[in-house]
């Protein structure tokens, strides 16, 4: 998208006006500072997704659009999770975090804050695994996507 004020609200407005779902949305500037890149996760039948694609392409601020589902691609999401870590839970949380290749990035005598990256499914699994512990806060970045191999989304 053009890295312009208002571009994001045009996309968000389109989704709410036409009743499409936004499951997650991430947006940030790219190496070309006139452009920002958005990854948006939505659901719908093939017809709905086709309409969404066409409507997005119609927005003047949208420069180029790619439906990641159309080819092999990588999805990543990051999660920061703050949990109580006292007594026996302290060891258990660390063990779970290791299994999910998480990193403990902040520690106090009562708290661990863990960073985990992966597909949304993996992050969901981690949250589930942690269900027994006392989770205080979860922050997720929303999904970012990129195509595998030669294929790329470039202007």
């Amino acid at each position: 998208m053009e890295n312009e004020a208002g571009a994001l609200s045009r996309v968000a407005g389109l989704f709410s006006a036409r009743g499409y779902n936004i499951e997650s949305l991430t947006v940030a500037p790219t190496e070309d500072e006139s452009l920002s890149r958005m990854t948006l996760v939505t659901t719908g039948t093939d017809e709905v997704v086709e309409q969404i694609t066409k409507q997005l392409n119609k927005l003047i601020d949208v420069v180029k659009l790619m439906d990641m589902q159309e080819g092999p691609h990588i999805e990543r999401e990051m999660m920061l999770i703050k949990t109580r870590a006292i007594g026996p839970a302290r060891e258990e949380v660390k063990r779970l975090s290791d299994i999910f290749r998480g990193r403990i990035i902040d520690v106090t005598d009562k708290i661990y804050t863990i960073e985990v990256t992966g597909t949304s499914a993996k992050l969901n699994a981690f949250v589930e695994a942690m269900a027994e512990t006392d989770i205080i806060e979860v922050v997720r970045s929303g999904v970012m996507g990129i195509a595998r191999g030669e294929k790329s989304l470039r202007v």
Binding site: A5, G6, G13, E47, Q51, K54, I60
Partner: protein, 564 residues
């Protein structure tokens, strides 16, 4: 030499060839009005309400194909313009609307007369801009005209803060602009066109269904050539009237909720549907589940998002209608294609049977004035040559049914949004664009009161409009639905305390007439249209109980019309 933003604004409009600017002043646009005062290239038309400015610009655009241009102040000026912007958006009409804004330093401060104009208009514009730096002004204006008039046209809003119009910059108006994210298609895909032609030539029961896209892309002559060459029946949407001559035998009239029986039956029974610049609106399709059950569908449209939006189509062609039709004609010529004449003969025989039902008949011996009769007389007396604008309601449908438009750009109405109040200001815009032509506004006593103040504008600019008020003392279309679907509980559809429209017209300096007897209809119209330099407000007291027929009730298919 450096110019102020306001001077740049005026120069841009002049370079763009804008002759009329419809607007209303206020604090945030004072610098611009000051610059307008000091030039004579662009004529500013002062309306009495900003909604009317947008409708007038809209009428101007619909009747010329050129963009309509509007200037209003910030806050209430901008919000008053929104109805007109949304009206233009729904019908894909090119407008460029300039709104004043509070100075950049105050934006976001709840300053006096501040609204987020870009935010408010976002869902009803093709695009909009907030100009934050006077050095961007000229390019932004160029982009606004470019976006509004190309591809699928639409309104574009340019919000200009007061300090930007006061600041100075070098003036340079770009000859053209390009935008990496906006490249409208200019041609149809040859393979798709070939596929469509092949399908059309095998059709046994073909139907051409054409809409506003034909008018917007100026494709009437190509459409006529193609239709005559193929010998297919053709129907127009409310927005497409005039795209093909209504008096031609191949034309089945309008389709849809209040379309003709033959058009709707033709749609329902066709085997190949060729949709051209039409968008399968719900007022056209009726119940989508029952729509064209036996048809393969070809759809030509400039907007890819229109294709397979409501109805899945078999052969989509994205491109400007005029271009695609030209290419189709060339292909047919090249392959020496011929339609299936024998099958067509059978098809036409069936269609003539439907046509013989005479679905638009009405009581011609009534003692009361029938609204249909007024429109028939209007057609006769203006010889079908008038520009006709309308408001919204029963009168709109009767005008669409009974005024036979043989030329494009002559029928001016709010189809998509259905905006009451549109008719009179739109007629002003048409008259500005065509000072020598006859312009009639068909309205109802409900609609006309939504922008009645424009009678004052008409006096100021000596616009000799003819207002045809079909006065049934009801919000007729609402009353009709209440009669059919709410057991006759007429909640708030009766118009009490109506003004004396004759005196009202006179007090605005115009001619007023009231017509109460059927035999006076034609003589009165004759007399009114003889007054070439006066606005005549004709108040026809019509039969209150008249309904618009035929009708596809909600939830029904196109083959399930209620006839009289």
């Amino acid at each position: 030499m450096e110019l102020t933003g306001a001077e740049i604004f005026v120069r841009c409009l002049a370079e763009q060839g804008v002759e009329h600017l419809f607007g209303y002043p206020g604090g945030a646009v004072l610098p611009i009005y000051d610059a307008l005062y000091q030039q004579d290239k662009v004529q500013h038309v002062l309306v009495r309400h900003e909604q009317a400015a947008t409708h007038a610009a809209d009428g101007y655009a619909r009747s010329t194909g050129k963009p309509g241009v509007v200037l209003v102040t910030s806050g209430p000026g901008a919000t008053n313009a929104v109805t007109g912007i949304a009206t233009a958006y729904m019908d894909s009409i090119p407008l460029v609307v300039f709104t004043g804004q509070v100075p950049t330093a105050l934006i976001g401060n709840d300053a006096f007369q501040e609204v987020d104009s870009v935010g408010i208009t976002r869902p009803c514009v093709k695009h909009n801009f907030l100009v934050k730096d006077v050095r961007d002004l000229a390019t932004t204006i160029k982009k606004a005209f470019y976006i509004a008039t190309t591809g699928r046209p639409g309104p574009v809003v340019v919000d200009i803060p007061k300090d930007v119009s006061a600041a100075k910059a070098e003036f340079h108006y770009p000859k053209r602009v390009t935008m990496r994210s906006y490249n409208p298609v200019t041609k149809g895909h040859p393979r798709q066109i070939r596929k469509a032609v092949d399908l059309m030539l095998t059709a046994k029961r073909p139907m051409l269904y054409t809409g506003g896209g034909v008018i917007l892309s100026n494709a009437s002559s190509q459409l006529v050539q193609l239709t005559r060459l193929l010998g297919f029946p053709i129907t127009n949407t409310l927005m497409g009237l005039g795209g093909y001559p209504a008096t031609d035998r191949q034309c089945l009239g309008m389709l849809g909720m209040h379309g003709t029986y033959e058009a709707n039956m033709g749609m329902h029974n066709c085997d190949v549907l060729i949709a051209i610049g039409a968008r399968f609106d719900d007022r056209v399709t009726g119940n989508i589940e029952k729509f064209c059950p036996t048809a393969q569908i070809i759809h030509i449209d400039i907007d890819p998002a229109s294709i397979s939006k409501n109805v899945k189509v078999d052969v989509p062609i994205v491109g400007p209608v005029d271009q695609v039709l030209k290419e189709m004609l060339a292909v047919i010529k090249e392959i020496k294609g011929k339609p299936d004449a024998a099958a067509l003969q059978v098809w036409w025989k069936q269609i003539e049977e439907w046509r013989a039902m005479d679905c638009l008949k009405f009581d011609r011996d009534s003692e009361l004035i029938k609204p249909q009769a007024v429109l028939e007389s209007l057609y006769k007396i203006t010889r079908g040559n008038a520009y006709v604008t309308s408001d919204v309601g029963q009168h709109q449908m009767w005008a669409a049914q009974f005024y036979k438009f043989d030329k494009p750009n002559r029928w001016i109405n709010s189809g998509g949004l259905g905006t009451m109040g549109f008719g009179l200001p739109a007629a002003m815009g048409v008259q500005f664009a065509h000072p020598k032509e006859t312009v009639a506004c068909v309205t109802g006593e409900g609609s006309i009161q939504m922008c009645i103040q424009e009678l004052s504008t008409c006096l100021q600019y000596k616009l000799p409009l003819k207002v045809i008020n079909l006065n049934n003392r009801y919000l007729g279309m609402v009353r009709q639905w209440q009669q059919f679907f709410y057991d006759g509980r007429y909640a708030m559809s009766y118009m009490e305390s109506l003004p004396d429209f004759v005196k009202l017209a006179e007090s605005y300096g115009h001619v007023g007439m009231q017509i109460t007897r059927p035999e006076d209809v034609e003589p009165a119209l004759k007399e009114a249209f003889k007054m070439k330099d006066r606005l005549v407000f004709m108040d026809f007291i019509t039969d209150q109980s008249e309904n618009v027929y035929p009708m596809i009730p909600a939830g029904a298919g196109q083959n399930e019309m209620i006839l009289v």
